[in-house]
Amino acid sequence: MRSCLSAVCRYEFRMQIRKRSLWISTIGLAALITVAQGDRGPRHLPAGTDAAVVMGSWALLFSMLLPIGFGMVLADRLVRDHRIGIASLLAGLPARTGALVAGKYAGSVAATAVPGLLVLCVAAAGEFVHRGDPALFGWAFAAFAVVLLPGLAFVAAFALVCPLVISAPLFRVLFAGYWFWGNMLGPDYLPSLTGTLLTPIGDYPASWLIGERALYAGEPGWLSFLRPEPGGGAALLSVALLIALAALPLAFAGPLTARRTSS
């Protein structure tokens, strides 16, 4: 079971990391964010700003758009197995469906995490040239782990499983709309998940690193019980909730894949 899981994870990682579209979208989006961040972006934080604040801001900035590309990349992953005829082959193996799904999920998250971490490290290197603070690199890893990674784990789970039900094209439309509505649309404008603990953009962890409200975390709005004051505890709760939510679609992945293979 364990060897099967690690094998699937390893090869899934290799397949995803070799995807040209993964790298093109990462580089394109990272460049776009860096250029378009405006005067309030982390590039313009005053000299002497704490490294945690600088890298927390970069991580939040990247997590606004990078997961969009990753979600699009992963959206046809399980559907593609059926399209290219590999699903029947996998179904005939002694490996359990749960292990296959878990391995693919872990491999996919790892593959999207690598370019995500790399762009944060490049941002840290750029900031190091100006600020000369080596702690920037350490905080790049920390910011990646608490701001970007939980969001990637959340997006990967839904991007892998939802297209099995609603088709990849429809998922992509809904995903783009959801990302804006659930992450960046002000809660005073419309009832939305923006600013709640369930925001995969990492608003709460980023607010914790920055030491003040990063975007909308905790702002009054719909589902007020999910909008505690930002802080260390709220950030950890947000990460835990996102990971727990990611497990939800994965629980259905096995039966959905089996149903598709047998139909």
Binding site: G69, L170, V173, F180
Partner: protein, 227 residues
């Protein structure tokens, strides 16, 4: 007529459902907003945003699907009917159904006094038609150039999202204002609105024409898995 019926089936249900789904989402958001206690002007703003922002997004994503997914592509490319023409019929069906629904919703909103867009009926069409042309044209061009669904859908999603995120800056800056997709819902029918609509539509036509020119080399449509 039967050819059009077949092409409607070939466009696929996700592509044909995209526009109705976007309008349903608009209505759901407006209902949620009203239920949340938002004043009527805010609810009207949500409806206008849906028509201007969600319909073009759905149409552009559907266009990518229509161009990128075809089980019989190799056979189609060997037929005497030109494949770009076949794709154009499918895209026409998707765009036509979206347009019909958008016109219907606009008419209903105008009749019920919930419309906050331009007063003229023709200008009302441009609220959704111009961004639809611009975004769909971009989607088609990237899909043909990149031969990748992922690249095309990511580009559409990111352009759409960035224009939402940086709306105040894009609407206020002179060079970006003509290219801003959501001028009606974000800045109203103010100075430069007509220019903005014309530029967006012209860009869309230009993108579509370029994509069609590129499609004169049929192997441009074969993806990595097919080639």
């Amino acid at each position: 007529m039967s050819l059009w019926r077949y092409e409607a089936r070939r466009a696929g249900w996700p592509a044909c459902l995209a526009a109705p789904a976007s309008l349903l989402a608009t209505l759901a958001l407006a209902a949620g907003s009203a239920g949340f206690g938002a004043p009527p002007p805010s609810v009207h703003g949500v409806l206008l945003s849906g028509v201007e922002a969600l319909v073009p997004l759905a149409a552009a994503m559907a266009a990518v699907t229509v161009v990128s997914v075809d089980r019989c592509r190799e056979l189609q490319l060997a037929l005497p009917a030109r494949y770009p023409g076949t794709l154009a019929r499918r895209l026409g069906i998707v765009a036509g159904s979206g347009a019909a629904l958008a016109v219907l919703l606009t008419a209903v909103l105008r009749l019920t006094g919930s419309w906050t867009g331009p007063r003229s009926a023709l200008a009302s069409v441009l609220v959704w038609a111009s961004p639809l042309l611009g975004l769909t044209g971009l989607a088609l061009l990237v899909a043909v150039l990149g031969r990748s669904v992922v690249l095309a859908t990511t580009t559409v999603a990111v352009v759409w999202l960035c224009e939402q995120l940086f709306a105040p800056v894009l609407a206020a800056t002179a060079w970006s204002r003509p290219f801003f997709l959501f001028l009606t819902s974000r800045a109203g029918v103010a100075d430069g609105w007509g220019t903005n609509r014309a530029v967006l539509a012209a860009c869309g036509v230009l993108f579509i024409a370029t994509a069609l020119l590129l499609l004169r080399r049929p192997e441009r449509l074969l993806t990595e898995e097919e080639a």
